[in-house]
Subunit: 330 residues, 2 copies
């Protein structure tokens, strides 16, 4: 299973819940993977220990040692990451502030470490290996608990001047809409994310207007999540369907704004909420088509992501190879 001269690299997708580690050869050939729970409540030092454990676990699957590892590329949830210096300034999912991730991991592993934003990494993964194969320019949007977005231009991540490009989740859809975790009102994330869907369902259940959803959560208001709302909608509950309909409408407006500004050839949609299929896609597409300018609408395809939970780690494998060899995958 060893690649030539034991040159191997690691790509990691560090999420709020899970650490996914992939080991690959220098032609992006996958060799092994391992996942492990993040346990962010244990603080950043605990998380970093588990990152190293997960690398060792993945290496173990192919009987490799850390000494064979040439480079580690890791992506983390934002919103505030300095990718050049490898510092996670702020991540609400990880509960991190100013963690010098690159420096710490380089010290511990004695190999170069590259840090990237998770949505950017997933965008690159989908562009190179997934729904955007053969494209140079595309946008990836993930709708799960939050909403992330990565912009790919010329098969490279577009970072913007301060690593903050692609914050589609914090573009404003309804200026007087619900409060967002960022402090603003009416952001896309505050009206179309999994968290927003759950919050709206809880609000209605609290007011006695979502009995079916509440029953599906065994009458535990706090247990209502987007998955429960989706299940209720699929069973025909009008309230749940309307919640998804409204989220889809907001997403359609957000995507129209994105496409009207950036005019990409493809938008790839991933994340748990998009798996609820027609529940959200129908109203999203209707609103998008109503709002997009004609010429951009004619030239864009909106498609599903193909790599699922592997997109971020695969993007990091591509970044690791680019860093190591100057080109993407061999």
């Amino acid at each position: 299973m060893n690649t030539q001269k034991n040159e191997i690299i690691a790509g990691i997708d560090l999420g709020g819940t899970k650490i996914l580690t992939v080991i690959a050869g220098t032609y992006c050939n996958l060799l092994a993977q391992a996942d492990m729970l993040t346990h962010s409540e244990q603080g950043y030092e605990g998380v970093i220990s588990r990152i190293i454990e997960s690398i060792d676990a993945a290496l173990g699957h192919v009987n490799e040692q850390r000494a064979s590892l040439k480079l580690l590329a890791i992506c983390t949830p934002g919103p505030e990451i300095d990718t050049k210096k490898g510092i996670v300034h702020f991540s609400n999912n990880l509960q991190w502030r100013d963690v010098y991730l690159k420096e710490i991991l380089e010290e511990k592993l004695k190999i170069p470490v590259v840090v990237e934003n998770d949505a950017n990494a997933a965008a690159l993964g989908e562009c190179l290996f997934g729904a955007g194969r053969s494209l140079s320019n595309m946008v990836y949007v993930t709708v799960s608990t939050g909403i992330g977005c990565g912009i790919i231009m010329d098969r490279k991540i577009y970072h913007g001047v301060s690593d903050s490009a692609g914050e589609l989740g914090h573009t404003i859809i309804y200026p007087d809409g619900p409060r967002c975790s960022c402090g603003n009102n009416g952001c896309l994330e505050a009206v179309a994310s999994g968290a927003a869907i759950a919050r709206e369902a809880k609000r209605l259940a609290h007011d006695g207007q979502a009995d079916v959803i509440l029953a599906a959560a065994n009458n535990e208001l706090e247990d209502i999540d987007a998955g429960i709302v989706a299940a209720a909608a699929m069973s025909g509950d009008n309230t749940a369907m309307e919640i998804f309909d409204n989220a889809g409408k907001a997403l359609g407006i957000g995507l129209a704004n994105l496409v009207n500004l950036i005019n990409p050839s493809v938008v790839v949609l991933g994340g748990g909420v998009m798996k609820s299929k027609d529940l959200i896609w129908t109203s999203m597409k209707r609103e998008f088509e109503r709002r997009v300018i004609k010429r951009s609408g004619q030239h864009v395809k909106i498609v599903s992501a193909e790599l699922g939970s592997m997109s971020g780690a695969m993007g990091m494998i591509a970044i690791a190879n680019t860093e190591l060899k100057g080109d993407i995958c061999g």
Copy 2:
């Protein structure tokens, strides 16, 4: 006054009202200019005759002949232009549909002709010679009768997949807002452009709620324009001030969405409406700062355009030189 070996180029900004022609040497050194009314009501053939007249007039100022002209670069108002083929598919300002501008002008002038969108041309002009000097990446926004926008990346115009990138004027600010000329509702152009300001003032005057503005238009409802509303606001009329305040607020939201997505280092604002200074800048900046994500807001400057009506023609001179010599100005 002749440049070496009489190598000269022409840059034209074709507007709905005026044709501005600039003659320059191949180091972007300006030699002469001429302007002429467009008279788009005479149809595209009349306009094209006047374009050629304006070239001859500008050449006349420096005693040059058409034979010395190596290339013509012309920008036109959109929204639908195929810059590669030089076809104006649709321009509401010019009342044009499917005009093969490049082909017609090349046939008449026997030199290569390059066609560009006017906001893109102005963006490049400001980037190279105006408020964006020394920057590689910036966004230019012009707020006049309509709202135009051009995105510059690596000192080049970012076109998108179908020449439609940068349609900030058709991003949605208020999903249930006023109807836009594009058929959509609540576009930035429908709530913050000069036309939107005039329309709102007319609506209020019609309802007897804008007497000062109406009086400033000599009680002729149809004569109310953004300039009259600005004058009334500057004289202290609360209604007029509120109209500008609301337009500024919408513009602040639109710019926050733009900056949250693209994370540029500078946004350059031009166009007649932005000349109304504090009337629109104060509420725009307040709303922008409220809405922009922290890290992008810390890294962006919002500044005034510097080239005024010359930005488009200057951008086209740069494009003409790039086309002719492979680099921008020398």
